[in-house]
């Protein structure tokens, strides 16, 4: 099935839903729906970034002082991990489009492993903070910092927590897609679902690209 000839005789009718005219319309609708969903996700995170900018406007010195407790090397490592997972995800989508099922499956599992690595690194970061007594909001019992440290760490946990939750959701969907891919469901005709999962994963990576400098590299 690795031939790249025109959709190599895969019967379109198999995947066509009853209310669509043809596959092109169905794929285009799927992608448009996904992009609208991504637009909505972006605005969902915009609320968090707004809270970050507002808190930073109110307590600049707290941010300068409190961010030293964040280990930027782990943050950088996580960024590299997520960017690599974005690469493998894009390669997986490319595999699906070119009927290269082997590369699709291999890259999907690579992405899942990298996502787990991201979560493990995050787990170490969180436990390191809990040991220091740095807990979100009013449970803060960490070191004395000028201004309102509970605001910075409250925000830190909400931002990275919400992003982590989206990574977990991503992993769940990726595992489901990987299992389907192993059954050979996806090929050059029916690959919209893989592409949509890829778009979602790239968005999660996009959010982290902004989160990393704003939280870890505050100067």
């Amino acid at each position: 099935m690795s031939s790249t000839s025109a959709n190599s005789g895969i019967d379109e009718k198999k995947y066509l839903a009853h209310h669509f005219q043809n596959m092109a319309q169905q794929n285009a609708s799927g992608k448009l729906g996904m992009w609208l969903f991504l637009g909505q996700e972006l605005l969902f995170f915009s609320g968090l970034f707004m809270a970050y900018f507002a808190a930073r406007y109110f307590y600049p010195e707290t941010f300068l002082d409190a961010h030293t407790y964040l280990d930027w090397k782990l943050g950088a490592l996580n960024t590299v991990v997520l960017l690599t997972s974005s690469l493998t995800m894009a390669l997986a989508v490319r595999g699906a489009q070119t009927n290269n099922n082997a590369s699709l499956v291999m890259n999907l599992w690579l992405t899942i492993i990298l996502a787990f690595v991201f979560l493990v690194v995050k787990y170490f970061e969180y436990t390191h903070k809990f040991d220091l007594g740095i807990l979100p909001g009013s449970f803060y019992a960490g070191p004395e910092i000028v201004g309102q440290p509970n605001v910075f760490f409250g925000l830190y946990f909400v931002l990275t927590g919400m992003h982590g939750l989206h990574v977990v959701i991503g992993i769940g969907v990726l595992i489901w897609v990987a299992l389907q891919a192993q059954k050979g469901v996806y090929n050059s005709v029916n690959h919209v679902f893989v592409e949509n999962v890829g778009l979602y994963w790239h968005l999660v990576d996009l959010i982290w690209i902004f989160l990393f400098p704003l939280l870890y590299l505050v100067k």
């Binding site: 209310h19 319309q25 509970n150 409250g154």
Partner: protein, 542 residues
């Protein structure tokens, strides 16, 4: 509009309609609960929205009864606070936001586009169940001590000093937001990717244009409400200290977050109402809409400018005077397209051939009530006058004229208009007109007196008030009884029609848009062949 029949080789019987309608095609409760047919989902939404409209309405009657006199009439202060809060929350999140798009929109979008179903039928059913899931949280809130923060959940009252179940109602509103987002995504994709051949953007009925503008707002604004409510829950449980000043937050920041969603939300509420009114006035005056492009473009421009004006809710809230000037100017900018729409509707009726069916009576009362609602917005947009009028009964009257007098009247008019198509039965128009008349009179008596109260300085959300406002409160309470009666008469008219209504033909009002091509009630996959669209939906007369 020639319906060129492309013979479908499916096993459909001949076009004479011996095929069962979508109501009788499948039987049993399960066929309804797991249906992906947009028409059935539309009906399920309609029933649940009307149910919550009844619940919200009863809260409103209770509030008005309590305000009959300044003394403590029926409820204690806390119960009163819960009553007006739940009236606001149920009406906003459960009734008026999903009302027209989810019920009439779901039902008629595919029919008007000439396609079999919306782009993502399963997603459509999922958004209905998300709506039900969110509604359960509200019902749980009713049971577990209510909510007394006002539907706006302003911090720090909602995050630290309210002992009522704020978390369950905020989470309920958060979940309902997703139902609204997914409906918006569904509609935008359907309108972009699925159309009858020949139907260009300028040949679409204006109801679809307004649904498109509404869906754009739903997709772009609702997530900000979702994150605001999540942050509020985090604030109340973890105390992260963004909104609550005791922990270092800023309450005005919460108001920015909240109103960034809630002002576009009021356009989510009114735009579908505009769409319904464009349909009602053109069909009942049997005349082409005046200025199709202007009306269509003004829907979309209202949607876009609607994102720039949220600060006019916060002129006196401690927001800086400089930015208030900016918001006041843009509020007047968003007033203009609305005025253009109203003028176009009136101009449409010029030289038409107007029949006074019940939907037309609702359209006329919409024009009357919405004009008052829209014009009183001018007072609240002016900076100096708003200082006096903000958070008084003037504001209460203004938004009831726009929301109840606008969207709900258009919604009921739309139900009357499409009732024969949805149920295949006609309603008794005398009873419908009586309901409309009583609602109109009751509404004006209730809320026009509140304009006077408000400008005289009667604050909002007051359990007891100064004696000087008592007479106006009495008038308003009597008006609310008449309004309630009018709505019950309308409800009875619908139920009566379901029982004993005459059989309705394919096109009782002589409409030209595509949904009148198929039977009433339509067959399961809407059209026998694939209808082709040759000309616009309003090309009456030559």
């Amino acid at each position: 509009m020639f319906l060129s029949q492309q013979r479908t080789n499916s096993a459909a019987a001949d076009a004479s309609g011996s095929e069962p309608s979508y109501l009788t095609a499948k039987r049993g409760l399960m066929s309804w609960l797991v249906t992906v047919d947009h028409k059935r989902i539309g009906l399920m939404y309609l029933v649940s929205v009307l149910f919550f409209f009844l619940v919200g309405g009863l809260f409103a009657l209770a509030v008005r009864m309590e305000l009959f006199s300044p003394a403590e009439n029926y409820f204690s202060a806390d119960t009163y606070n819960k009553l007006f809060t739940l009236h606001g929350a149920v009406m906003v999140f459960l009734v008026i936001i999903p009302s027209i798009p989810a019920s009439l929109g779901n039902f008629f979008l595919p029919l008007m586009l000439g396609v079999k179903d919306v782009a993502f039928p399963k997603l459509n059913l999922l958004s209905f169940y998300i709506y039900v899931f969110g509604a359960c949280f509200f019902l749980y809130t009713l049971v577990s001590g209510g909510l007394d923060t006002g539907w706006t959940f302003y911090t720090p009252y909602s995050s630290s000093s309210s002992e009522t179940s704020v978390i369950s109602s905020t989470f309920g509103a958060f979940v309902l937001g997703f139902s609204s987002i997914l409906t918006g995504v569904n509609f935008i994709v359907t309108m972009h990717k699925m159309r009858a051949p020949g139907m260009t953007w300028t040949r679409m009925p204006l109801f679809l244009w307004s649904l498109y503008a509404t869906s754009v707002i739903q997709v772009l604004a609702t997530p900000v409400l979702a994150i605001t409510l999540l942050l509020l829950i985090a604030e109340r449980t973890l105390g992260i200290g963004i909104f609550d000043p005791a922990m270092g937050g800023d309450p005005v920041l919460y108001q920015h977050f909240f109103w960034f969603y809630s002002h576009p939300a009021v356009y989510i509420m009114i735009l579908p109402g505009f769409g319904v009114i464009s349909e009602l006035i053109t069909i009942n005056s049997r005349k082409h809409i005046f200025g199709y492009k202007a009306v269509a473009i003004s829907s979309v421009s209202i949607a876009v400018i609607g994102f720039l004006v949220w600060g006019h809710h916060m002129f006196v809230s401690g927001q800086s005077e400089f930015i208030s000037v900016f918001f006041s100017f843009l509020t007047y900018a968003v007033g203009l397209p609305t005025a253009i729409k109203v003028f176009s509707w009136v101009a449409t009726m010029y030289k038409g051939s107007i029949t006074l069916t019940t939907p037309m009576w609702y359209a006329l009362s919409f024009l009357f009530l919405f004009s008052i609602g829209g014009l009183t917005g001018l007072f609240l947009g002016a900076l100096s006058v708003d200082v006096h009028l903000h958070d008084t009964y003037f504001v209460v009257a203004h938004f009831h004229y726009v929301m109840m007098g606008g969207t709900i009247i258009a919604f009921i008019g739309g139900i009357h208009h499409w009732w024969p198509k949805m149920t295949g039965k006609m309603y008794n128009s005398a009873m419908g007109n009586l309901g409309c008349f009583l609602t109109f009179v009751g509404f004006n008596v209730t809320f026009f007196s509140q304009f006077l109260m408000g400008s005289q300085g009667m604050p909002r959300r007051y359990y007891t008030y100064l004696e000087q406002y008592e007479t106006l409160h009495v008038i308003s309470t009597i008006g609310s009884q008449v309004l309630g009666l009018g709505l019950f008469v309308t409800l009875f008219c619908f139920i009566h029609s379901l029982m004993a209504g005459k059989k309705a033909g394919k096109n009782p009002w002589g409409g030209l848009s595509m949904e009148w091509e198929t039977e009433s009630p339509p067959i399961e996959h809407n059209f026998h062949g694939q209808p082709v669209c040759e000309r616009g939906p309003y090309d009456y007369g030559k």
